[in-house]
Amino acid sequence: MKFKDQVVLVTGASRGIGAAIAKSFAAEGAFVIVNYLQNEKAAEEVVAACQALGGDAWAIQADVTVEEDVNRLAGDVLLEVGKIDVVVNNAFKAYQFDPENRKLAWDLKWEDVQEQLDGSLRAVHHMTQAVIPAMKKQGGGSIINMVSNLIARPVVPYIDYTTAKGALQSYSRNLAAELGAFGIRMNCVAPGLVYPTDASKHTKEDVKEMIISQTPLGRIAMPIDIVGPVLFLASEWAAFVTGQTIYVDGGFVMN
């Protein structure tokens, strides 16, 4: 029980990678806040699964791109359980990962980029602002931001999405530098293509095969593959690790 009595907030946790992360924390004894945007039923299923796995959980609706929502979310958690040890910023703005119909550079509007920046950087910024006071008071905390291995190798140039994730990586490094003084660590996890998730369910086989052919471990990541590095970064095993990005893509990218 690595996370017994710890409070872990996972955004976008009703499905896919977020749900897998929430359940794994619960299996290690954590109290998990399952944040969701729309799908209450799915979130409640994750809560039930967390409880069945031996942890506890609580589903809270909030749009993480809206500052008031994030403040309400953090406020509710702090009011009810008094602390937040770990935040996993996993939620992201809905994005269609479709290599055949992505926007080409010359068709891209600033609004597209803005939308993605809002979905990743802005959401994390609000969340960070909301939890820093409590984490400072606690004398530490771990914040993990989900980015993408596309920031290191844009094998398909999803320009708006990847640029926003790149900005988030940069933001994380800066905050790691600033917040280290309070024992607050901030790191990134950069998955490759994860299948199956709602975002990747329409990814064509030839794209998967192309990635697999250049992946030393010979397959596509599954949601459960992302969990280990997230738990590691959240744990005391990573007590001296901050400002880092762990690539979880079977060796497709090597940094």
Binding site: E205, L217, G218, R219, M222
Partner: protein
């Protein structure tokens, strides 16, 4: 609850349905399977025969190609109701991984679109118009190909969508069909029959899909007697039993158990291509958990390449481990699990007595690779992702090993240079192998292949010749005679 089967001419209320329960991937599905009486069976058969003679035979072969193409297009459409049903229910029924079923459906369906169907026809007939009308022959005279009035199909359930092959074949040659589904997979054939009727309502009575317990002598003898042709998939015992019920005047075509294998030459085992060769070999083993007649049971791997056969087997092992994550093997029945466990124990024990032998695989038994030096015999695989890799020096060494399987050999997947491909093919053709494919394609035969060395369409028809002399003779009686 899902209802299997399809027929016209009988009230559904008059037919008894048996409920079968399937469990897979944590879900339960109940399927109602129509169990017809002998009288009902004959009544359906009579109806199909009449529809076949009066309606189906009035369609041109190009119209039938268009209709099949439309059915296939609908099944390839992920938003189509039947396609969605197939993706949802076939994994529960067969136990196969959902992704494997989805991809398997698409890759099989793709081979039945219009261009492939046309190729299929040309492959067997040269001139497909032979199916529509008498066509002039190079030798003189005319010929026409007549499809069966009634063809009985007996399907197996080992590979999803298997009935498609014979349904499409019988339709192309304008044969009316009555098919018996496998109790292991009773749904797919009925869906196809319904879709054909939806695309071309006039064909609604030309195909029926039912079920009866295999080996029922009364039903089988009665139906086979009424059929021009019986086409069956199954184990050799089941096929023998079926054949015993087929009268001499009815043609019998059976596809029984087969053994397929791969050959990996040293030129496909260098630093650049060995991993890819292993991946394709593992893919063929993984696909449909080796349940197909074309699934490889062992690989002969040549030494002398940069990567040794032993290392190759380790590459294959890793690829099988990776595939197990991406396309997990279906849950085995207790008997299958026990059989595999016993096999594994025996293989592992033999490692101590057989020098050089290695058994690689997880404790869960979800896949296994056995590497062994050449012996004077080779054992077939217990299947379910278990493969034997045998080191050889020279490909001639395998010929005596294949002799016991003479009547069972089917596909050989080959990784070799062009010269070696044809050299090996000549050797293998003598051993009984009927299909040679690349690695990675063993489980996806191309449209118009000669299944077990036979003609897919030509074997279903009867040729009718008008001899040249009849034509010359007829001239004597022409009204326009001067």
């Amino acid at each position: 609850m899902e209802r299997a089967g399809y027929f016209t001419g009988l009230n559904e209320e008059d037919v008894k349905y048996e409920i079968r329960e399937f469990q897979g991937h944590g879900k339960t599905l109940q399927v109602e399977v129509p169990v017809v009486t002998t009288e009902q069976l004959l009544q359906i058969a009579e109806g199909v025969k009449t529809a076949s003679d009066h309606i189906l035979k009035s369609f041109s072969v190009s119209e039938l190609v268009r209709i099949i193409d439309e059915v296939i297009a609908r099944l390839l459409d992920r938003d189509n109701l039947y396609r969605q049903k197939a993706e949802e229910l076939l994994p529960i029924i067969t136990g196969f991984d959902e992704e494997m079923v989805r991809l398997g459906l698409t890759s099989q369906l793709k081979t039945f679109r219009k261009p492939q169907l046309q190729r299929f026809l040309v492959e067997d007939f040269g001139n497909p118009l032979l199916l529509d009308d008498f066509q002039p022959r190079a030798k003189g005279g005319h010929s026409k190909a007549i499809g069966p009035g009634l063809m009985t199909h007996i399907w197996a359930g080992n590979v999803p969508a298997l009935p498609l092959w014979s349904i499409v074949s019988s339709l192309l040659v304008k044969g009316g069909s009555i098919g018996k589904v496998s109790s292991a997979e009773p749904l797919f054939a009925g869906w196809v029959a319904k879709m054909i009727a939806e695309v071309e309502p006039r064909l609604r009575g030309c195909l029926a899909v039912v079920w009866w317990p295999g080996g029922d002598e009364e039903k089988e003898s009665a139906l086979f007697n009424a059929s021009d042709l019986v086409f069956a998939y199954g184990g050799n015992e089941a096929l023998t039993a079926i054949k015993n019920h087929v009268p001499l005047t009815t043609k019998f075509l059976g596809h029984g158990h087969k053994i397929s294998f791969g050959l990996v030459s040293k030129e496909s085992l260098n630093a650049k291509n060995a991993a890819e060769t292993a991946r394709l070999a593992a893919y063929d083993v993984m696909r449909f958990d080796q349940q197909g007649c074309y699934s490889p049971q062992f690989f002969f791997v040549q030494s002398g390449g940069q990567v040794s056969p032993k290392s190759f087997s380790q590459y294959v092992a890793h690829e099988l481990a990776v595939f197990e994550k991406r396309f997990p093997r279906r849950a085995l029945s207790k008997e299958e699990g026990a059989e595999l466990f016993t096999w594994r124990q025996k293989e592992q024990m033999s490692v101590f007595s057989e020098q050089g032998k290695e058994v690689i695989g997880p404790d869960s038994g979800s896949w296994a690779v056995v590497y062994e030096p050449l012996k004077d015999f080779v054992l077939p695989s217990p299947l379910n992702r278990v493969v034997r890799i045998i080191e050889i020096e020279d490909f001639h060494e395998i010929l005596p090993l294949l002799v016991p399987f003479r009547h069972y050999l089917q596909t050989a997947g080959i990784a070799a240079s062009p010269e070696n491909l044809f050299h090996l093919s000549s050797l293998l053709a003598k051993t009984g192998v009927t299909r040679i494919s690349s690695l990675g394609q063993m489980t996806a035969p191309e449209a118009g292949w000669h299944h077990d060395g036979a003609w897919s369409l030509l074997d279903l028809v009867q040729m009718v010749d008008i001899e040249d002399n009849a034509e010359v003779y007829a001239e004597k009686f022409a009204s326009y005679r001067d």
